[in-house]
Amino acid sequence: MIGRSSENHREGRIAVAMSGGVDSSVAALILHRRGESLVGLSLQLHASGGEKALSAGRCCSPRDFMDARLVAEQVGFPFYVLNMEREFQSRVLDDFVDEYSRGRTPLPCAHCNTHVKFRDLVGRAATLNCRRLATGHYARLVWDPAGGRTRLLRARDPDKDQSYFLFGLDARQLDDTLFPIGDLNKAEVRGLAREAGLAVAEKPESMDLCFIAGEDTGAFLDRKLAGGTPLEGEIVDGDGRVLGRHRGIHHFTVGQRRGLGISGREPLYVVEIQAAARRVVVGTRQEQMRSGCYVPAPNWIGLDRLTTAMEATIQIRHRHPGVEGTIRPDGRGGVDVQFRTSQRAVTPGQAAVFYRGDELLGGGFIHAAR
């Protein structure tokens, strides 16, 4: 489903961000069949790790670019690889490493969408006379004439919904955005690809972070943080009793259970990361439950802004089913979030995204759980 852009300003080309996967390939296919004039763009976001990346089939590998290029050739539209390494480094990668060193768990895909794909890429696509951008995200846009705005909805397929990662988009940008596969489920997407004879029809999905190829996040961070301020310290319980030592707060995420290297009577979880003291606080499942969180700088899409407290469904991480609760303006532009039932793993650095039904109202990064 697409939004206002299907009705208005038809002139100009549409830029399609292509990863070389089946989703963005089918997004392009759908638009092409609708008679749109397309330009396929793959983004070189980081120096791909040579043969390792090639064999791992991660995004941004030469293999993925070639897959995207072949789809463009087969469907019949021009295609380019756009170098955006510098943008990705400054807007996503640096922040990713910094956040971990501050004891938070970043959400790089949201930063990449907000800054790199839907801002920097849109700007560069304008040079190519592309006023609109299409991606292979599972999300929907509908033009609401009464409200005079484009509304961002969850994908039809709840399993694939990616709207959570799109909360940072500028509401006006959505007018010029298309999510052609938001109404389809994965099987339908693969079916279309198969039917059109696209070689990527059966291509497996990439689940990992695109910029970490062939190593785990901990090893990646160790490498990036080497030589900086030491981050190792103590593992303590809720009463401050030292249970052990750890080799860096960047190896921990709130809610994490594995890899603590200590045993308790019941399973222990990371409850809090005290970055200044380089302390990791662990506790029982009960001790990690939180009743709310604070979001200092939310972005609003479905609302102009939040003026009074309202009920919403709140999603606090990807694949979190959402919890009913209240979002309340704090008078300084921030939002106090109160869950109806306590939640585990309320993680600073992740996003709290607010929905009304399927509609995304807004969201922002979690500063602190409470």
């Binding site: 793959s42 670019f65 380019y80 690889v81």
Partner: protein, 385 residues
């Protein structure tokens, strides 16, 4: 709408007469030029005709022409072949050489040779005295290109040759970009080794040549046969070489007229461009340059984006920097010239050639102006328009 091709420095379109010659060579029953029979004889005739044509383009003797697989092999052969005959020693290269010279020098460095890289001035020209002042007792080879592939600046090879005279130092000159665009007489040039490539002349890629001054010995790169007077083993790519010969011949015949024609077109384009965008910077403009090369930085807009936008309108140009898919390394040439990163990023290279018409350069100019004006140029740059 026909495509306007303005990327001759990357590769010239194959000339129709060349395509015909290649096809004829393929269709004619030719054999291996080393064979005794008639098919071998016909092959040898094609090979030697091509050698004469290529030699004639350089004002050289045919015996001094060693066919290779292209400019890259010629450059590799010159440096590696010369170095292999000495144990250690010193090489001088300009910092703006093609990667096939720079990476070969780097390879030699890792094997214990010493390498000095000489930087150009801000216009992409290597002052000969800067290069000559680096000469040492153990210097075995100097490599200086005839013209730079990105900005098109002509280098003072002759002055360097004068300075090296009688010192037992080999002078290699990568003339891949210059051949067919400016007149080259190897004797007057004074170099000992000169590389050229077929596909810059309008022949298919896959062949090139190294001119080797009589009496200069090089260790061969490829072993296993006595072809090319024992200088390069392997059966020659005969059909391609037939095309190389024809391309060399046409290039030589047309050179004086073409050089003047392309220079006029290029200069008019640059004047008009500067009228429209006074803040554009044309690199190498105050130095002698290849006649058809224009390398320009338009502040506030990425060269990469311009190349794509122009391509969508049927105009093929380049950013000037050699880039494989997506991974754009900032041009080492512009870096050596001291260009700031934003200027490097906003650079564009148009290179004209035998098929370029005034209508095409006009269309290029108009399209470029349209794209730049319609783009989201940074406010600072826009304010100066």
């Amino acid at each position: 709408m026909s495509e306007v091709y303005l990327d001759y420095n990357a590769g010239a379109p194959v000339r129709p007469q060349v395509a015909k010659a290649v096809l004829e060579a393929l269709e004619e029953r030719i054999g291996n030029p080393s064979s005794i029979h008639g098919a071998g004889h016909r092959a040898k005739i094609i090979l030697e005709k091509s050698r004469r044509s290529v030699a004639s383009l350089l004002g050289a003797s045919p015996d001094a022409i060693c066919f290779t697989s292209g400019g890259t092999e010629s450059n590799n052969m010159a440096l590696l072949g010369a170095a292999a005959l000495r144990r250690g020693g010193h090489l001088i290269v300009s910092a703006i050489e093609h990667a096939s010279v720079l990476q070969t020098a780097q390879q030699l460095e890792s094997r214990g040779y010493r390498v000095t890289r000489v930087r150009p001035d801000a216009e992409g020209w290597i002052p000969p005295e800067d290069l000559l002042s680096q000469v040492r007792d153990d210097t075995l080879l100097v490599s200086l290109m005839h013209s730079n592939h990105e900005v098109g600046t002509l280098q003072s090879v002759q002055a360097v040759a004068e300075g090296l005279k009688g010192r037992g130092i080999l002078l290699h000159c990568d003339a891949v970009q210059s051949a067919g665009k400016v007149a080259i007489e190897v004797e007057r040039l004074g170099a000992d080794l000169v590389s050229i490539s077929a596909h810059k002349l309008g022949a298919p890629a896959g062949t090139g040549a190294l001119w080797i001054r009589q009496g200069v010995s090089l260790a061969p790169l490829l072993l296993g046969g006595n072809q090319e007077m024992n200088r390069r083993a392997g059966t020659p790519a005969l059909a391609l070489l037939a095309g190389f010969g024809v391309a060399a011949e046409i290039s030589r015949e047309e050179l004086p007229i073409e050089a003047a024609r392309l220079k006029t077109l290029r200069d008019r384009f640059e004047t008009d461009l500067l009228d429209a965008f006074p803040d554009a910077r044309i690199h190498g403009r105050t130095r002698a340059r290849l006649p058809g090369t224009c390398h320009v930085a338009i502040p506030g807009i990425r060269g990469e984006d311009l190349v794509m936008a122009l391509d969508l309108d049927g105009i093929a140009v380049s950013t000037g920097s050699a880039c494989s898919t997506g991974t754009v390394r900032p041009s080492h040439v512009l870096q050596a010239m001291g260009c700031p990163p934003e200027e490097i990023q906003s650079s564009l290279r148009a290179s004209l050639g035998y098929r370029t018409t005034p209508t095409e350069t006009t269309r290029f100019l108009e399209t470029l102006l349209g794209v730049v004006r319609g783009s989201a140029r940074t406010p600072a740059a826009k304010g100066r328009e």
